[in-house]
Subunit: 359 residues, 2 copies
């Protein structure tokens, strides 16, 4: 692996193969390793790279520390025409959620919508991945999760009892890229902060603060900070409510019971997720709905822009463009990450991926 | 009606009776008038007074202008075990949503959850009202709506194609007040702005801006402004997605089709709502879940506070306290509103409500 100061680009296929090989070495069954790798690299392709191959070393550390079960027997308990509870038996979150989405589709078709609660899962990468999956079935996807770290206090408090609990939604379209909203309930996600820390870059104002609300910009001190909620009390309230829905209702960890997967390589997180699939066809005919969504998005996109704004990007559009661009031209990996992956490759006796071309 | 400069207090019962009498004069059937009045005054009691009796004159204007149907035959089309579409036939939103909540309960019990889409409705007051209703059935309530006014541009744009589209959620508890989140996707709701306008008070910085992002504080110019989205692109994206779910999916108005009910007394709004009821009992036993929610809320409330913060209020707690306090001591109405209601009372030959006591 090269390590120029300008980031080299790597073909997605090479990154997938490398990631899967590493995970196989750490005892994931080949099909499971391939699935986790596929979703991790999809995160990289989409630009949500704080949730992609960047996390491989951390995942491996936790697998080796006994914190994650590499051979889970994921259990599904269907509790009604439109509901199911998935117990991930502490498997990789990507696998547990893949199962949750599969579980949701048939009941959503039968009942008009389905809600799948998840417990005993793990970190699963970006929320957009899972909200997007029902879209292939002409369903709206909604996803929420309890983040595996303490970053947020109840509004007015200074104890970090909440995570950056994200919310994502995706809607089917006819021809336009499906709109995908993926928002942490903090100003930015901690995955984004971790990228700055790894690169030793100064953190932008307002992303991390101390308890008194004063900005922390030094990456060496980022882990001591608070992540301010988006929209002040609104983001804090939303993080709380999403936690009750995605976690407490499913018997997953919340509040003081959470385990911070950034600092703990041994304990299970009992991560909770919520996945909802909504069958569009119950009200309007699917094709009519999708065309109507396209028309509405087109209208927004073509509306009058602010001065100095060249393009109005709707939720998920930049993600869509980035996936196409990076699938063709490769995923840029910063030098610090390449060095870390080289080291990991050597330790597990796997060939590191080769860059397509340096830029 | 008195009109001191310090706001007089009015018993909720008197305000309900007055509101119902006015609506009856304008041809709502007595039971419908009473129901609308009940929900409007509940908004006042909870402190969401930009959505309460404050709106009575505006509602009456629109009824008289032929914009609202006072004798709707609300139609329910059940389209699956867990879905239904309610066509409000342009009735008052409060009535249409009351019907939507009633419609949701049985299928939610049967399927584990239900989603009711609403079209041909009208402004219905605060989102918290409707998200809270399923809680009495031991269900989680989720509500979203397309607001009846243009206040928000797609991110990067300067055409107001979006409303303040709110999201609300409420969760059952054992003994604690149920947590209720009610958030506009803008920094504040337009109902809040309108209160400042009516009182002629200067608008706080950051609540209304011009297209260039410069604050508008003069109440006389508030209606020309933008309401900035909460969390910048996140709030704008959320407003868009909620609009697709609450409106486009139900065949209700969205984007350029919206009618601004603040300035138009004649045209129908075709307002869209989304109401979801989630049956808690599908996963954990209800009582265990409610006790667990109580415990989690207690934990948050008792956590270490920031300096100078006396109480950590969780979502809905201040609302709950205010309802109790104002039910006992009456609802304070500002002088400008009292004058407006006095005038309305005279015009429809209804006795105005009497204040309990001046403060």
């Amino acid at each position: 692996m090269a390590s120029e100061s300008a980031p080299a680009r790597y073909p997605a296929a090479a990154l997938r193969a490398f990631t899967a090989a590493v995970l196989e070495r750490d005892d994931l069954p080949p099909a499971d390793a391939a699935r986790v790798a596929e979703l991790m690299i999809e995160a990289d392709l989409s630009g949500q790279d704080g949730h992609g191959i960047f996390l491989l070393l951390q995942y491996v550390r936790r697998i080796r520390g006994g914190a994650v079960n590499v051979r889970p027997r994921i259990r599904v308990e269907e509790s009604g025409p439109g509901t199911a509870l998935v117990d991930g038996e502490n498997g990789m979150g990507h696998l547990v959620l893949t199962r949750a989405v599969e579980t949701a589709t048939a009941p959503a078709r039968a009942a008009g919508g389905a809600r799948v609660g998840v417990r005993a899962s793990n970190h699963a990468g970006p929320a957009a991945l899972y909200a997007s999956m029902p879209v292939a079935h002409d369903m709206i996807g909604i996803y929420a999760a309890v983040a595996n770290a303490y970053h947020l206090a109840p509004w007015g408090g200074q104890e970090l009892l909440l995570g950056t609990n994200p919310l994502a939604m995706a809607v089917p379209t006819a021809a336009a890229p499906p709109p995908v909203l993926d928002m942490a309930t903090t100003v930015v996600s901690y995955g984004t902060i971790k990228k700055y820390v790894q690169r030793g870059e100064s953190i932008p104002l307002g992303w991390v603060t101390n308890a008194a609300g004063k900005a922390i910009t030094d990456p060496a001190h980022a882990s001591e900070g608070f992540l301010p909620p988006v929209g002040a009390y609104k983001g804090s309230g939303l993080a709380l409510m999403l936690g009750l829905l995605a976690s407490v209702m499913n018997g997953a960890a919340f509040g003081r019971d959470m385990v911070d997967f950034n600092v703990d390589d041994h304990r299970t997180t009992n991560t909770g997720h919520l996945l909802v699939a909504v069958d569009v066809a119950r009200f309007p005919p699917v094709e009519a709905f999708k065309r109507e969504v396209d028309r509405r998005l087109r209208d927004m996109r073509a509306s009058r822009r602010l001065p100095r704004v060249e393009t109005i990007y709707l939720p998920g559009e930049q993600r869509h463009t980035r996936i196409q661009e990076q699938t063709t031209h490769g995923v840029p990996l910063p030098a610090a990450l390449v060095a870390e992956l080289d080291h990991l490759a050597a330790s597990v006796v796997v060939a590191p991926p080769a860059a397509t071309h340096a830029t």
